[in-house]
Symmetry: D2
Subunit: 278 residues, 4 copies
Amino acid sequence: MKNKARILIDCHDAKGLVYTVSKVFFNRNLNIDNNQEFVDKETGKFFMRTVVSGFFELQDLNNELRANLPKGSHFKVIMPKKKKIILMVTKESHALGDILIRHSAGELDADIQAVIGNHKTLEKLVSRFDIPFHCISANKLTREQHEQRVMKTLSQFTFDYIVLAKYMRILTADFVKIYSKKIINIHHSFLPAFIGANPYKQAFERGVKIIGATAHFVTNDLDEGPIIAQNIIPVNHRFNWQDMQKSGRDVEKSVLSRALALVLDDRVFIHGNKTIVF
Amino acid sequence: MKNKARILIDCHDAKGLVYTVSKVFFNRNLNIDNNQEFVDKETGKFFMRTVVSGFFELQDLNNELRANLPKGSHFKVIMPKKKKIILMVTKESHALGDILIRHSAGELDADIQAVIGNHKTLEKLVSRFDIPFHCISANKLTREQHEQRVMKTLSQFTFDYIVLAKYMRILTADFVKIYSKKIINIHHSFLPAFIGANPYKQAFERGVKIIGATAHFVTNDLDEGPIIAQNIIPVNHRFNWQDMQKSGRDVEKSVLSRALALVLDDRVFIHGNKTIVF
Amino acid sequence: MKNKARILIDCHDAKGLVYTVSKVFFNRNLNIDNNQEFVDKETGKFFMRTVVSGFFELQDLNNELRANLPKGSHFKVIMPKKKKIILMVTKESHALGDILIRHSAGELDADIQAVIGNHKTLEKLVSRFDIPFHCISANKLTREQHEQRVMKTLSQFTFDYIVLAKYMRILTADFVKIYSKKIINIHHSFLPAFIGANPYKQAFERGVKIIGATAHFVTNDLDEGPIIAQNIIPVNHRFNWQDMQKSGRDVEKSVLSRALALVLDDRVFIHGNKTIVF
Amino acid sequence: MKNKARILIDCHDAKGLVYTVSKVFFNRNLNIDNNQEFVDKETGKFFMRTVVSGFFELQDLNNELRANLPKGSHFKVIMPKKKKIILMVTKESHALGDILIRHSAGELDADIQAVIGNHKTLEKLVSRFDIPFHCISANKLTREQHEQRVMKTLSQFTFDYIVLAKYMRILTADFVKIYSKKIINIHHSFLPAFIGANPYKQAFERGVKIIGATAHFVTNDLDEGPIIAQNIIPVNHRFNWQDMQKSGRDVEKSVLSRALALVLDDRVFIHGNKTIVF
């Protein structure tokens, strides 16, 4: 069967890895459509992303790579197909809206399973796109109680990633652990500057001349996970913090959408607290 | 006498300030070549920079503005002319080199009085441009003793600004106080991220996707003064911290040179811990 | 009545213009919230945009400015309020979608009266936002016949601007003349590079390392009107022209939305084939 | 002998090329320090740049690659060492100055053999760096006569590249042919916009909001060679063309220096009228 696959390898560096892998592809008569590697000298780790096409069975390719790669190597053979995602939001519409529009235009390589909001604010916008919206209010609930309800809703779906499209609540370590390496957040500052609440107010008070946004995987430490993408825009003394917030929205939404596209395309490796982005 | 002047006003906002000032210019039959104002709503402060040309005596214009502006207003009438600057450096040549080349090409609206280095490394480069280099080693000296020697050298010159072109020593509060609002520094990070030592190493360890540089006035708090200009460049996982440092040099030198040009052109107001840049 | 107004002045430069205008505001006890001027030395034209607030009647302020400004000066006193716009589209959804989302979030200082498409493709997207969509097919019509139908539809609405959000048909000189200075277009290249059809293919063939987009007013000459805003993104040899097109969409939509915001905020003067943007 | 080499391959795409090449490295027990490939689908060409280290003789590696690569493949095995360059200039110092400073700091992986100017203007600057300056005036000479003299001077040196650091004369097709793929130019516009004389004046007259610079290899067609690097800076209505020119200098010098660094690092393949930049 004519197939296409993305092979993602993440293992200890060793002489001959490129040779070993390319031999597998060569023996099976596969085309290498795209290939990128990287060796992190500091940690001695090897990363490789290859897109191959040809006649092969996924399972066979899997077996052959396992037989040839050094023991203990992590690798995945992924058939390109739409991933499933859940969006979580609060009240701001710009990041959500950008994803909805891309989704509706067929530009996003994902199916949005549902949107979960802790307020009703965005219900109408989501319903315009015929996507289920679940309002799970945190009102009068402890953080744990609220997350229990969110998790109950999440359990109704299968999904690959949770995208925090301006979800303004802090997640507990337990929640993050359960969905480890599956949560993507947009932080409204140029991390690591202005960690914490209201980064635009902090930026305004510091008198910076540039503001930014950071898309990252969420780990236990708030605003501290592996960064996927960042971008910036210039500001000046005429901007009060609300102006910065308004201008910041454009960079937030574009950075989140770019990071999401990279993740959906299987271009992002998590490596400790960093990412390798091919 | 046909003259040109920059008028810088910095006072409490009040109704009619633009009218008051423009009346002075109108009555004296002066041309307004350029005019920018800004009111900081938060602090109720008014800033204005006007370039006028025409037949006038500096002293008369000064008197008339004093007579018309609200009591207590700060203002300066400045004839555009080359300012005098002192450069302070350590071992890295890129920021210094960029200023020397601009100076030598007549692009810099300043006369470099001298370069002070705490190492001999850059003596040769400076001597190529026939500019005096003063090596003041900090070897075996306390911070205070070293600064005493620097100040002794500084006292031989008249100057408007001290430019820290990658001067890698921390200045004491006393030193900074003496040259208050006269010291411009280039910090090799996108402040307020990565304050302190080796920002590129910090940036590398954090796994950021963008690095930057910040030119600012130096105040008591290290890396905390009013920001004049910032810029950034993208990096990726292939950059180790030395690569970031190398790439960072280009943005450091361009940001410092841009900030310096703005200051020399009298376009920068210091307002608390911020700047107004017209 | 407590009012706010934007005063836009566009006249021949003369000594005392700032004084004259600020005297009017001063005499009426108005606050200047924001003020920017520019003199184009080449053409001797003066441009001023002032935002004032205070107690005044629009008509009085109008009269007083007319009485004081040099004869023949153009000026407008505009009360800030939502402008009315018509969108014209073809098949691509990104620029339209961005405007619809901003509109739906209340971020756009405009009411969208209708969307006119020469294909049905975007009808569904527009209907999601409860905005009327008029499909006016050009099938089997001459350019003139098609435009007649478009104009008939346009005549049902009052509007301030027509926004070509990836409307892929060329407009006749007659059409453009009728809606002179009212049509805003997004061109999918960094004008004046790659004028004409399929700029991304042209860019790909030329091997550029940066692509861009240009928002401009439409005048008789195709792709030649006054530029309002431009932006760019880097590309490399891995981009084929379809990749450039895909990446280009993000910059197209952000440039158009930014230009539109500037126009809606009355910040853009048309000056010959250029713009002054305050 | 412990060695390091850059292998550059440029051939028709075929199945197994990565395998073939990596087998050579594996059999010789070489480390792959860095590896990038690209297949141009349109032309069916394969490009690969690999940095290997280990114990090997250059000639052996050469022979083995020749034995294994498809017949007719172009490839080079390059030992990293300083290349030799000649600079050509006219009157402007910024691009030259940036290269001289980098050279003097040991940042440039090249030895400057000489600077050739068609005016004496930059002689003093060059002499500050103890580099020979050859003034070859074009006064009263035909273009061909002048180039004869330039070539006579060039013939005294061995060099890898000629860098036109704001050399403001047009080169004949004959001259360009002789130094084919060896001449790097900085064009002071965002090509292909504003080809020809005084691009800043053209940019000013068109009213663009962004200006740029383009570094490219020089081919027969003026301003039409393969682009290596481009960058831009924003401008606005306050810039006259001289201001654009002044601001443009910063982007010109940084783009040229970046392109030069890429070329010196053997990262640039010329492919028809385009470049592949690894």
